[in-house]
Symmetry: C3
Subunit: 417 residues, 3 copies
Amino acid sequence: MDQITELSYALDTFYFLVSGALVMWMAAGFTMLESGMVRSKNTVEILTKNVSLYALACIMYMVVGYNIMYPGDAVSAWWPGIEFILGSADNSVEAVTAGGDAPYYSDLSDFFFQVVFVATAMSIISGAVAERMKLWSFLAFAVVLTGFIYPIQGYWTWGEGFLDEMGYLDYAGSGIVHMAGASAALAGVILLGARKGKFGPNGEVRALPGSNMPLAALGTLILWLGWFGFNGGSELKVSDVESANAVAAVFTNTNLAAAGGVMAALILSRLMFGKADLTMALNGAIAGLVSITAEPLMPTPLGATLIGAVGGVIVVLSIIALDKIKLDDPVGAISAHGTAGLWGIIAVVFSNPDAAIGTQLAGALVIFAWVFGASFVFWLIIKAAMGIRVSEEDEDRGMDLAECGMEAYPEFTASRK
Amino acid sequence: MDQITELSYALDTFYFLVSGALVMWMAAGFTMLESGMVRSKNTVEILTKNVSLYALACIMYMVVGYNIMYPGDAVSAWWPGIEFILGSADNSVEAVTAGGDAPYYSDLSDFFFQVVFVATAMSIISGAVAERMKLWSFLAFAVVLTGFIYPIQGYWTWGEGFLDEMGYLDYAGSGIVHMAGASAALAGVILLGARKGKFGPNGEVRALPGSNMPLAALGTLILWLGWFGFNGGSELKVSDVESANAVAAVFTNTNLAAAGGVMAALILSRLMFGKADLTMALNGAIAGLVSITAEPLMPTPLGATLIGAVGGVIVVLSIIALDKIKLDDPVGAISAHGTAGLWGIIAVVFSNPDAAIGTQLAGALVIFAWVFGASFVFWLIIKAAMGIRVSEEDEDRGMDLAECGMEAYPEFTASRK
Amino acid sequence: MDQITELSYALDTFYFLVSGALVMWMAAGFTMLESGMVRSKNTVEILTKNVSLYALACIMYMVVGYNIMYPGDAVSAWWPGIEFILGSADNSVEAVTAGGDAPYYSDLSDFFFQVVFVATAMSIISGAVAERMKLWSFLAFAVVLTGFIYPIQGYWTWGEGFLDEMGYLDYAGSGIVHMAGASAALAGVILLGARKGKFGPNGEVRALPGSNMPLAALGTLILWLGWFGFNGGSELKVSDVESANAVAAVFTNTNLAAAGGVMAALILSRLMFGKADLTMALNGAIAGLVSITAEPLMPTPLGATLIGAVGGVIVVLSIIALDKIKLDDPVGAISAHGTAGLWGIIAVVFSNPDAAIGTQLAGALVIFAWVFGASFVFWLIIKAAMGIRVSEEDEDRGMDLAECGMEAYPEFTASRK
């Protein structure tokens, strides 16, 4: 009996760690996607932002974020969780095999899984504010978002706070992670303004093509793979038949939702623009993944494909709409994570009988209002304190030389100079 | 007792899902390999093909393919498997713990694992027909191959059809996946003709160098990693000592066969051309992997290395031979997956006493005849209906502008214009 | 009871194989990192070196290395382990369930895990000697290092040799893998001399910027992911509560040490150079990972972050110092793996009460003396036999055309010619 408990505990912990490693891999996905979608003169800077935001997110979430989000887990009552960062979690053999209230996987594996989620939320933002936001202002915001803004709203649902009590359902975070990231991004984009040259003097929208499409495709496929950890790990348990079946359903549905998103966005862009637009197909994949994230377990495989396909349609329309209202999002992050995230929150009601449309919308509104509002305030403070936008000269010359002192492709772009 | 059954079921399901995720990752491998091997003007198009063929394969296999290939599994007797896509698989706790006939892993984890295989077969084709086939004609063919041609022959062996009864052995699909994909590719290449400029007026073979070698190397290493899922997952079970040892042997042999393939191709290309040809070494890795796929369990580690090394020699000779007969395969896919796949089918007899050379060859012939023949017919139909080759003008200008309306590297190739 | 033993054995084997696959993935990390950090004219050659060194390491370690390092495991008493490569490991069900001395995971899974480690050590070297060492001389050295130099010192600690008896502690190989690789690299760099143009006539240090920064970032993130297998798998067991908790702690600490390394190196480079230097941040990540590798289990999460941060400071200072003494290491490998590796060996004493500073330093000295000395001798022999440095003309023109007969980016660099 005890040995079985130990084995279950070990399998669930291992499953959690593998899932977490896959989510960490999403950091590489965002890094590649964003570096492929920006112009070459801003590439080193976006790489630096992505690598350092991940590092910063991990540190801030350890020091304060995790304790805010899960106040009863693995931490003392002391804020900001001094005991946790000093390593006091009680996962001794005795504590576990005592059964009953015992944890069924390692506390640290839970922390590892959660910390890669907060980094995902922050990664969404870097794409939307790319090519014009100051590096260190961005990192200052990352401290606030990953340490405070994200964990506070995360607590409301996953930490058993008031959104959870209200019945808001969000399996792996269409709202809590993706729409939250997009809401913070939107606040930044509004304050920051569009890139120079994005909108012409007569209001026309100009393409500023990304410099490296294979990296954008690679990034999307990395995200697709990582999402098996993101959604698949969110079942939190795999060690019995019911859980194992659930995890298998989540993997299958996650994959099919992405497939539906790709095909819908590809066909729609072909119909609307006459061309098979790769960037739309890639954003369709991400939108499909975001759409299924609030409820990847209950839909049938066909249902998941359709939910993803609707996400793929939504992202194309949303990208066009944002351009119309002159909100400049270089990689389409607000549409793929925000608009599709809202759709994902709503789509829960089609397959989960416990979900109510009103509660889902209320949850979405609360998350948006909090993250958008708090982010807006902090972006404003940072703007006042150190500025958020690089100088016009640095924008022309490129962020790479200005912020990082090097070029991404010194030999390929030499002919331009 | 019941709890042990549950844990075994959970471990096997998790093993299946991790393996499937690794095979899904092979889609990124093919995408990077092919985008590195084509010229920059055709890069966006090959990215679009790879991402959308994966999506399409998943959808078609769900709707019809899986039901054709495994008629008794997880589906009703109704074709095309309405019940499955509506989610009727009975993996309830009761069904499983009843023992005896109970499944030992989740049906949906099996579907997930199988669906990534069919995408692999289709990915092989996109490389061979690169730089000249129309995008939408290719996708039309993908519908037919992934929904019908592949699953029908898959059923013959893995679905317990007549090849299985005959004793044809193909552990993870040297023939069923790789040679099948290459056979369909060959039919397409024959109908399509060579790229403009590949063969000179006096019959000389001209190199059309790939535009991005690091991506080709990355793609190959992704495939190498993914193959641990492809072969390792094909044991179907890991939860007892015998199965665990088998999976470990498969991982070890898969790795060593690739290593043997690299070294053989590298040394042979050095001897033949005087240079250490990277593209040959990469194709050697893939050929080594394909060669061991029909029987990665029984060979000793040394035997696996040698089987892979022979594959590495074969792929170099096959690439040269195809050039001689003026079959233009931009990435060497027909050689790495087809010729080496045939060698893999044959090599089973060296280590598996149950294999007979005649049966193996008969199986190879049946698979080739079916896939090549059926593909040839469908390529012809598509050619008649919508054409399969882009216009000469579009080929000169590049598929990217013609089909997708964008460039892969707008800033790096600007000096050419 | 027996069934539980079987399940534990299966889970531990699967955990080992997943970990090994992640470490194999580090080969892709080194390949991308190094190909991004060299100039475009030397890119194909560094790709070829990385792919073939991995293949060669696997083959050499199978044929002789593993038997030297673990003489009692899975091999006969005959050197060089004929029995092992012929497949005699006894992992039969009977042998395992006999309990007691029975292995608790598959021997072949252990071999697979170990073989990817030796490839890591060799990968470190290729970066340091990049852009000037002959390909085939490098591969000749790879035969010696992976077959003999590395396994001999590996035996001293992990094979229960004299360093183990002395009490030298090195959990996953800050010294045994990373500092060992860096020591061999240092010997090569000293004999090889700097790249043309690296140091000016008046002793000034010139930057020779890498050609593709996104690949360097991707490579670093791949290494970060792979390190979860490298350190996480080195617990060797996950199937009970204590082991599972340990593996979770190792994952968490590994991640946080990398995060600490990034932030420390980024901030230090900003303070020292006025710019957020991406290559320093990337080397900071690697140095953080190397620093925690000797003891990723015992530190608290906060302690691990600090150990990594010190590693991040050390790598920046070490890179500057090596430039000062005119040792040319194009990717910073000697600093990130060697200097930070030494710090990692020392840092064990801060958290592990069994470690003694004298013993740790003695262990480091022994490893350095052996690997540096033996490597120096073999580099000298190779130099005498076939030369180690390409001709000045080939260095100017690029190694790619000279050694491999092709270019990495034929279309992007055309304007230079």
